[in-house]
Structures are given as structure tokens and as C-alpha cells.
Symmetry: C2
Subunit: 183 residues, 2 copies
Amino acid sequence: MQASTSPAGRPRSDLNADVFAATLRSVHEFGYAGATMDRIAVAAGVAKTTLYRRWPSKGALITACLVDVFGPAPVVSEDREELLTTAIRWGAAKIAEAGVGAAFAGVFTDAVSDPGLREILSTELQAPYLRVLQYALGESEQRVRFVIDVIIGTLLHRMGISGEPMAEDDVEALIAMVLGVFR
Amino acid sequence: MQASTSPAGRPRSDLNADVFAATLRSVHEFGYAGATMDRIAVAAGVAKTTLYRRWPSKGALITACLVDVFGPAPVVSEDREELLTTAIRWGAAKIAEAGVGAAFAGVFTDAVSDPGLREILSTELQAPYLRVLQYALGESEQRVRFVIDVIIGTLLHRMGISGEPMAEDDVEALIAMVLGVFR
DNA sequence: TTAATTACGCTACTTCCGGTAGCGTAATCG
DNA sequence: CGATTACGCTACCGGAAGTAGCGTAATTAA
């Protein structure tokens, strides 16, 4: 392949970080629908057309933000209980600290009526984590999917739709509940 | 008050049922965003302006559909375990049979950036059930809200966003999980 | 230096959708 | 019959996603 033989032409400016920050700020402040592409562009100090040169749609841009926030799945343990505990704490903390609950929930809802976005969301954001969990849990796919839906569903409903952070107690309660499934 | 002294003027046609059916069909088929007011109006054989005469917004219309589907909260028991069990089974069945998962999730997401809709949603759809549960569970408000968020979040994430029905097994697993919280 | 190439900003535009205005007409009550 | 309210219809407004095309900036290859 040898892809990095610096292509001819003007290189892309280093503005992804600014765009991601502006996007998440906008979503946090105005909600998913209220965070318009025009507004994001202005907030990032970038032309709207530039956004569309890099990401095919608003949903794709916000998904890219989420991928940027969460980064690679942290495989912290081979032990099932420890893995689940850490994963849930990690997910809740990430969502809360970055304030991406609304962004998350909005993208999911958009994806219902947008197959292209569903594809992006699935491959870029969900698949890596699913693979890690399914491998580590070593359970039937149905069981794993159920657990994932409980975790994601609960976190999103609380922090995305209700917009409130999740108390320590509640995170621990969620962990205890999920661990109970495997007993 | 004496409200029912038949007012002068042409009475409203009996078309709520048709509109609700057309709305839910549209949302089920095209997703929340894809179910446009024009489409709903055509599907129901009604003028779009008539929709806006009866419901102030798309979100309000869909909320009305949900209220119509769910009806009054069934207070089936004073026993905590029995109440939760029945409530979860009832909710899952209602959502599945009416195919209102996407509608539900869409309204919630819309409400994030629409205070008016949030108000409608809260008073007309959520409040009655919350009151029943909080009374019956007799727990701290935090505990009750946590349980509700787990139940609603899980059901919506599975049946609204993923769009898949929930298997018997999973409903029972959810019930077992929730009951475990109170031990 | 120059030509080719790619990225960016800008303005203007199209399309679609939620929601509104206003008119003519239909149905009901007194 | 008149007053009143509901409905259908057409036309429209405003906003937001996404696109087209131009001039210009930054880089590489010759």
C-alpha cells in the first residue's frame, strides 16, 4: 500500500480538534436538533462547506466526535466481573465528563431513518466494543446483546434524554444489577 | 363549569382514531423523522391543517398517540414484586404490539430541545405512571427514578432504536434484574 | 519559477419539512 | 334563517441539511 507518500496539493489544515470541540459544545448547549451545521461552523471558525468536505452528514460528524471522545476500547481484564465493572464505570464517566449524552441519543435516533448513518455508527463506534465484550463475556450472543442494551439504554436514557448526570450510587447499582445476570 | 352543553357550531368529526392509526403506521414504516406531517395527513385522509387544529405540534400528536395506546396505568397489585413484574411485562408487550418504540424514542429526543413538548410529555404520559410506581414502591425518589430509567431505557433502546422486538427471555431477565435491586 | 493539485472560505442556491394564513364550504345550534 | 365552529385546500414563511461553483491559499513535482 504505502499510503503516506505525501500527496500533491494543499494539505488539510489541522482543525479536527477545534471542530469536535465546537460540535460537542453546541450539542451540549442547544441539543441535538439545535446544534445546526451553520452554528457549528461558526463556533469552530470554519466554513460550513469544509465540514461537508470531511464528513458526509451531520450525523457522521457527531459520530466522529463520539469516536474521538471514547477512543479505543480499554481491555482491562480477562475476568468477567472486573471487565464489566470497569466498562460501566468508564462509559458513565466518559459520557458525563464530555457531556455527550444528548449527542449519543440524537445520533441513535437519527440512525433509525438513515441507513447510511446506521452503517457508520455500527462500524465505527459500536462494533469494536461489541467484539471486546462478546469475547470477554463468552456468553450467547443474545445474553451479551441484552446486557449491552441494558447498559447503553440506561446510560443514554438518564444522561442523554433526561440530561442529568448519573450519581455514583446509581452507577454502582447498575453494575450490581448487570453482574446479577450472570449468577 | 358544566362543560358539556353542546357548543354552537359544527362538531368535530370523529377522526382521531384514523389519525392515530395513520401516525403510528407512518412512524413504524419511515421512522420518526420520516413520518412527516404531510404524509400522516394523506395517510389519514385528512388535511394537514386539521392536524394542527387539534394538536399543536408533531411531537404533541405523537405523544397523543402514545397516550391513546397505553391508556390509564393498570394498578394491578399492592405487592411490590408483583407490581413491577406486571408493569414490565405490560410495557414491553404494549410497545411491541403497537410498534411504538420508534415513536417513543423520537418524542423523547425531540423533547430535549423543545420545552413545550417536554411539558406535554411529562404531564400527559409520564406523570401518571410515575405516581403509581413511586407510591407502590415506597422507596426513595432516587431509587425509584433509577429503576424507571433502567426499565424505560432498556425497552426503548431495544425496541425503539435497535427496532427489534424483545424476546420473552429478555423480558424475564429484565424483571429479575430489577427485582434484584430491592434485595 | 512554474504548473498541477488539493484544501479552504465564501456566496448563493435547492430541497425538504414544520408550521401558519386565509378563503370557501359543510355541519350544527338557536 | 343567522351565528358559529370545523374541515379542506392552496399558498406561503422560516429554518436547516446539503450542494455548486468560484477565487484563492498551500503544497509537491518539474
